[in-house]
């Protein structure tokens, strides 16, 4: 009886997990930028690809190592740098949105421990239809040539 209960629980968990993942979304190149040791706000970047014919809306991002994650867009208007908080992010059908330095990025608040290049964690992206994708995120040092490459792409 105990065994059956256990099996049932495992299968329910497995079933609910596989049900809740968003099959239309592929999230890759997820990385958290290493920051000075006492900094309480970090940034993370990723590529979010929508392989379906319907738009997908990202509404919530979580990571066990941070108290809160927000989505922001960096802008420079008339020489002034600003960040605009985004309540959601729409990924159009068959499109990819890149969260990259100087543009859309995740703002990670209050790390529970200092993060160093080489550390890994997971970030969970939740969509408006209730689905969630959990992906691995690597902590990396900022590579200046990456930024500079990004500017040429835009």
């Amino acid at each position: 009886m105990h065994k059956i209960k256990h099996l049932l629980l495992v299968s329910i968990l497995f079933f609910s997990c596989s049900l809740s993942a968003n099959e239309n979304i592929s999230i890759s190149d997820v990385w958290i930028s290493e920051a000075p040791p006492n900094v309480s706000v970090l940034a993370a970047y990723a590529k979010i690809q929508n392989t379906s014919d319907e738009l997908q809306t990202l509404i919530l991002i979580r990571c066990p190592l941070f108290s809160k994650i927000e989505l922001h867009l960096s802008k420079v208007i008339d020489g002034v740098a600003k960040m605009e908080k985004q309540n959601s992010l729409t990924i159009p059908a068959q499109d990819t949105i890149e969260l990259s330095p100087g543009a859309f990025h995740l703002m990670l608040f209050d790390p529970k421990a200092p993060l160093k290049s080489g550390d890994t964690t997971t970030i969970t992206f939740t969509f408006a239809d209730g689905t969630s994708n959990t992906v691995e995120a690597n902590v990396k040092k900022r590579n200046v040539s990456d930024h500079e490459h990004d500017h040429h792409d835009h």
């Binding site: 920051a35 000075p36 002034v80 960040m83 200046v144 500017h151």
Partner: protein, 217 residues
């Protein structure tokens, strides 16, 4: 018409006009030749010339809580960037780019200093600033103190910033100038480099500005 022009009655005023035109053209050419540098200055992106701004003393504190004012800008080429440590994207990008710029330029140029000025001195204590700037490069300088001290510099050179602070909260965003300000060894504000910042572009602009300023001295 030709007949009219050849008429001596019109010939004299026409010659006078021609002579005036030739004189002013000659004057214009000689003016251009005597000041070739003025022409060149227009080609250097970010350079303020012929009117670099001589600023007055200011009273910020560095990351060791030591006074940092006009005197500390003298005898050095300074790159100054204004930001805050709670800035996760634009500020660390710029600081990383400036580290790259500094490492490359320091092999050929003496007396360079890179300065990060916090426009959020209430949260950015000297201890925070010290850890922040040294993470990017241990020669970098962090300036702050309090709002009044920071404003003694920002107001003189028109640095825009705004704290998006609606209520008493420790969590707020700050809008701030994205440019890098360049001061020459006479502590004159000689140039402003606009974002987005790329190390190769900054190095090129700085090298041109320095060469131009040195040629004027």
């Amino acid at each position: 018409m030709i007949k009219t022009l050849s008429n001596s009655k019109f010939l004299i005023p026409a010659m006078a006009i021609l002579a005036m035109l030739a004189t002013s053209a000659g004057f214009y050419i000689s003016l251009k030749q005597s000041q070739p540098a003025l022409g060149d200055s227009h080609k250097i992106e970010g350079l303020f010339w012929p009117n670099p701004k001589q600023i007055n003393d200011f009273n910020t504190l560095d990351q060791m809580n030591k006074p940092f004012g006009l005197e500390q800008l003298k005898e050095k080429w300074s790159f100054i960037f204004f930001g805050y440590t709670h800035c996760p994207d634009v500020c660390p990008i710029t600081m990383s780019v400036m580290n790259e710029v500094y490492k490359k330029l320091a092999t050929q140029h003496d007396n360079l200093q890179v300065i990060f000025v916090s426009v959020d001195p209430e949260r950015d204590t000297s201890e925070k600033l010290s850890q922040y700037v040294s993470y990017f490069n241990d020669t970098f300088i962090g300036l702050g103190g309090n709002k009044e001290k920071v404003d003694s510099l920002t107001k003189q050179i028109g640095v825009a910033y705004f704290l998006n602070k609606e209520e008493q909260t420790e969590e707020y965003l700050v809008d701030h100038s994205a440019s890098i300000f360049i001061f020459d060894p006479k502590a004159r504000f000689v140039g402003k480099l606009s974002a987005p910042h790329e190390s190769s572009k900054i190095i090129k602009q700085f090298t041109e500005i320095k060469k131009f300023i040195n040629a004027q001295n």
